[in-house]
Symmetry: C2
Subunit: 340 residues, 2 copies
Amino acid sequence: MSRRANLRDIADAVGVSVSAVSLALRGEARVSEETAERIRAAAKRLGYVPNRAASALRTQRSDIVAVCLNDLSNPIFNEFLTHIEDELQQSGRMPYLGVSREDPERQARFLEAAISQGAGGLLICPARGTTPEDLRVVLPTTGRAPFPTVLFSRSLEDVACPQFGNDDFAAGQLMAERLLAGAHETYHWLGGGHDSSTARAREAGFRNVMERAGHVPGIHHGPTSRAFGHATAARLLRESSGPVGFACFSDLIAFGVLAAAAQAGLRAGRDLSVIGCDDMEEARFSVPPLTSIWIDKSAIGRLAARSVLDPEAEAVTRRIAPRLADRATVRSPSATPSAG
Amino acid sequence: MSRRANLRDIADAVGVSVSAVSLALRGEARVSEETAERIRAAAKRLGYVPNRAASALRTQRSDIVAVCLNDLSNPIFNEFLTHIEDELQQSGRMPYLGVSREDPERQARFLEAAISQGAGGLLICPARGTTPEDLRVVLPTTGRAPFPTVLFSRSLEDVACPQFGNDDFAAGQLMAERLLAGAHETYHWLGGGHDSSTARAREAGFRNVMERAGHVPGIHHGPTSRAFGHATAARLLRESSGPVGFACFSDLIAFGVLAAAAQAGLRAGRDLSVIGCDDMEEARFSVPPLTSIWIDKSAIGRLAARSVLDPEAEAVTRRIAPRLADRATVRSPSATPSAG
DNA sequence: TGCTGTATGTCAATCGATTGACTAAACGCC
DNA sequence: GGCGTTTAGTCAATCGATTGACATACAGCA
């Protein structure tokens, strides 16, 4: 037999109807325990694997949950994905993964595929520049949505769905406050500048505190990469004399700054300060260990996954509070830095 | 209308049969260009998205490709995934992602889901301890497989499918050779020890060269994590007097070693040597930049993806040659280390 | 006029699983 | 015995798209 076994094959083998097999395998009470046992045995013997496409077609339900990320090369998204996957797994769902690469068009193609595939839900961290219009296919203003949609990490205004993310304005403030605790000649913001809620809010929080303290930080927008942090910091360090305070949109950028500092023969935490954001695992093992803003990736990922699995229960948008993870890369005239 | 539009809705709107709509949308010549245009317009107007489940059911084909990874927290798998995703995307396929977490049972559940979902192919990096028996569902010894399967990164013996990976024995040899070029008191292998082809082959290659050179390296098996590298190196550095040469199964472990060295006040590349393997992006920005073994993740990922998309064309198992990426963390009495 | 050929469609079966409606037998109970 | 109620199933329609077989109209040609 070259075909995959189906309900009919089992029914023929056992000598009952297809309905009986369907009912038995799903544990409905309409078949006797004895028959059910024979059916299960035959199913196993024939290597039966249910055809989810057929079942999805009939029931209009599916255990696929679409998950749309922006960029796999940023470990932060993997951390989110890990928690999401874990939560989905626990309910027997599987993530159907899409990567937008910050391109709303790629994102649109994935959304269509998700609908096409009959997904049961969508978890999305919207690509930069995504408009409510772009999400219309999954969040129509009139009529029913194809499935529950939940935003995570990044938020979007005027979009009617639950959103779970970090309080990025607060994160930006924490970064500024920590830097201000040490004395620096100049302050610089590295990264962001793109059309995403995280970039806007973190920078706004940072500037807010800086300006209230009477400082005008340098703003250097750029890609979320080690290379950008490295290049930008190398230049700024050459141009400056006194200690510089760097606040980075992402730890990734901060690692680049650390590399540049080391190459310039400077020690972060003494000759200059670097603070990152996201607190990825890597931060605890950088040289020196990176001071960063801890974000509750687990809570965000899990809440989002739970919300999409059970839209009734977890329908509220939430913004999770960040915390300072103080390690060794920010100058501290008073207190000594402690490893996190 | 709360339902998703289907072919019937379009047919009714245009006043043709369902068949005509199906033919027109797929560009078959059986409908006039004029009618086809009206049909496409109606499809767009109604927001029609084809139901892939129905189509998969009817045609027994699907554009889902299942991809099974082990561990998202290891950036190397993300690099593979990025290249795979890219290649699949180009053919309009989407990865259906599973994460085994090195658990053959989780892996088995995913394989069943992939079959269930009617996937069109499977790309898998087998979990540690996977046996040919575990893959029997997708690679039956008798009868037809549910879809083409391809192994990547890790290989498995006695499994009848294309396999694409790095030449890990050669990688281990390169690591040993590079370390031997500098003078060290002792040599240590960190990581691996688990039941995977990469762990076995890299260690074997390393020992092969070491033993031929008359050295007996210390072997320290353990998890592929920065924490393991950190803890193990911290202990070994305390116990040793002269320069130590560390070869790490993965860059991840090497980063931990670098952190431990820095904390001990030692400089990698001068007081001790560290060489990693995989050459992840992070290696270029560590402090100091990590000497590692470069692996062609792009070629491996793309070849594997292409093979699963077109099993006829790309059916040969291939082992890609690694290269030394010499940076700054290995002692070099003769040559000066250069940044990669 | 009649015949063939082409263009343009339509019809209906099919993929595999699900489920509301139905049936037949057995059982309980007065 | 008669009647209602369980129990253990079966039947057939259904989900949406695809496709081989068939239908109709019309042009061209002898």
